[in-house]
């Protein structure tokens, strides 16, 4: 199953890349960074949803597997959020001449990244495993509630994040869809492998 996912993900990303370099290319060439930026934004939000769901499941069941999955989702989410913010900064510099400005989506992206980092800082602060798991789950829920709130409150500031182009041709839409789907499959694989490695580090000592 994992091998299948890996192959599919690779194929989709290669398809997106080949289209982006040929028929789906946006001019000027630097704008093609959106084929990385948009899918990673999508994946970082999905990771947050997974983190939220697993946090709730952990608080209800106290099963360690939910904490492992939540932490794995947070790791993947942090990776994608970092790539999203970096590619976004490069795009903003090329498109609008600035690295960063407090526009709604850029604020939301930055807050998302801060929340992921804060989640890991919290996890690293506890020596007791049970306390770490419980409080990480609590923070995961609070952080997730923050995400729609930041999207709403950021509407109060002017929005610079309005691209001057759109994905018009079928090739461009196909490239974007392939990149997005490939990224989601890649994210799933990352979460899966990360969860497995955490489970290997915590063997059952007294099985019931």
């Amino acid at each position: 199953m994992r091998t299948t996912l890996a192959i599919l993900s690779l194929l989709l990303i290669l398809l997106a890349a080949s289209l982006a370099l040929t028929t789906a290319a946006i001019t000027p060439a630097a704008r093609n960074i959106v084929y990385v930026h948009v899918p990673t934004a999508f994946c970082s939000l999905i990771s947050f949803c997974v983190l939220f769901f697993c946090s709730i499941r952990y608080l209800r069941t106290k099963q360690q597997k939910w904490d492992h999955t939540a932490a794995a989702a947070a790791q993947a989410g942090l990776l994608f959020a970092t790539i999203m913010n970096l590619t976004g900064m490069f795009f903003a510099r090329l498109e609008w001449g600035i690295w960063w400005t407090p526009s709604p989506r850029l604020i939301s992206s930055a807050v998302l990244w801060f929340l992921y980092v804060a989640y890991f800082l919290l996890r690293s602060a506890f020596e007791s495993r049970r306390r770490k798991e419980t409080l990480s789950a609590v923070f995961g829920i609070i952080a997730f509630i923050d995400v729609p709130l930041v999207l709403i409150s950021a509407r109060l500031v002017p929005d610079i994040h309005r691209p001057s182009f759109s994905f018009d041709t079928p090739a461009q839409l196909l490239a974007l869809a392939s990149a997005a789907l490939g990224s989601v499959l890649l994210m799933t694989l990352l979460i899966w492998y990360s969860k497995l490695s955490k489970e290997r580090l915590c063997p059952h000592t007294h099985p019931r």
């Binding site: 919290l122 419980t134 609070i142 409150s153 500031v157």
Partner: protein, 202 residues
């Protein structure tokens, strides 16, 4: 806390003078920064005394509902912040020369909503980080990360009060958002406090 607020306002004042930034904008930022750091200090100190001799367990045993402890702590923290702001707010207004046409009832309502919102998150997270080696710094990072969305309507509301009447900033929209934030944060934190308090067992 009062000293901290005055120092923050003073540093922002010097920066505003050097950079020729408008006084209302930087006064809003200075006041928010002062309230935020004070909220973190108040909440952390409040729970440090509970953690010392396992007094939180004694409170849980004595109270009918663990959520009551959260609401009680929240009330105390908001009250402490209000007392601190009796001095801090006039200090900021004086430093930044803001007084003409200031609507005091609206300012009080805005600051009260900001206090409740900041304290709601800081109270829960202060309980969570007790017993860790880096409780103080960790609490600051966590609170600021979670409260960063709330800064936008808070600044919007304060800026509309401190600026001249014909500004584009909408006080009512900012106030509405602050109210929504408060309602959501207080409810969610009250529901989650059980898990955080129980998490002190280990």
């Amino acid at each position: 806390m009062i000293m901290l607020a005055i120092l923050i306002a003073w540093i922002f004042r010097i920066a505003a003078e050097s950079a020729e930034i408008s006084a209302p904008a930087i006064a809003s930022a200075a006041l928010l920064a002062a309230i935020l750091f004070s909220a973190i200090l108040v909440c952390e100190k409040n729970f440090a005394s509970e953690h010392e001799n396992d007094c939180l367990a004694a409170l849980i045993l004595a109270s009918a509902d663990t959520g009551d402890i959260y609401l009680a702590k929240l009330t105390v923290n908001v009250t402490m912040l209000c007392i601190f702001e009796l001095i801090a707010v006039p200090a900021v207004l004086v430093l930044f020369k803001i007084n003409a046409g200031l609507s005091w009832p609206r300012l009080i309502i805005a600051i009260l909503l900001i206090n409740i919102g900041f304290s709601s998150i800081a109270t829960l997270l202060a309980c969570a980080v007790q017993g860790t080696k880096t409780a103080n710094s960790l609490l600051g990072v966590l609170v600021m990360a979670v409260l960063s969305p709330m800064m936008i309507p808070a600044v919007s509301a304060l800026l509309s009060l401190f600026s001249q009447p014909d500004t584009a900033f909408d006080f009512n929209r900012g106030l509405g958002l602050l109210l929504a934030f408060d309602a959501i944060f207080v409810t969610v934190c009250w529901l989650l406090f059980d898990f955080v308090a129980a998490g002190q067992e280990n």
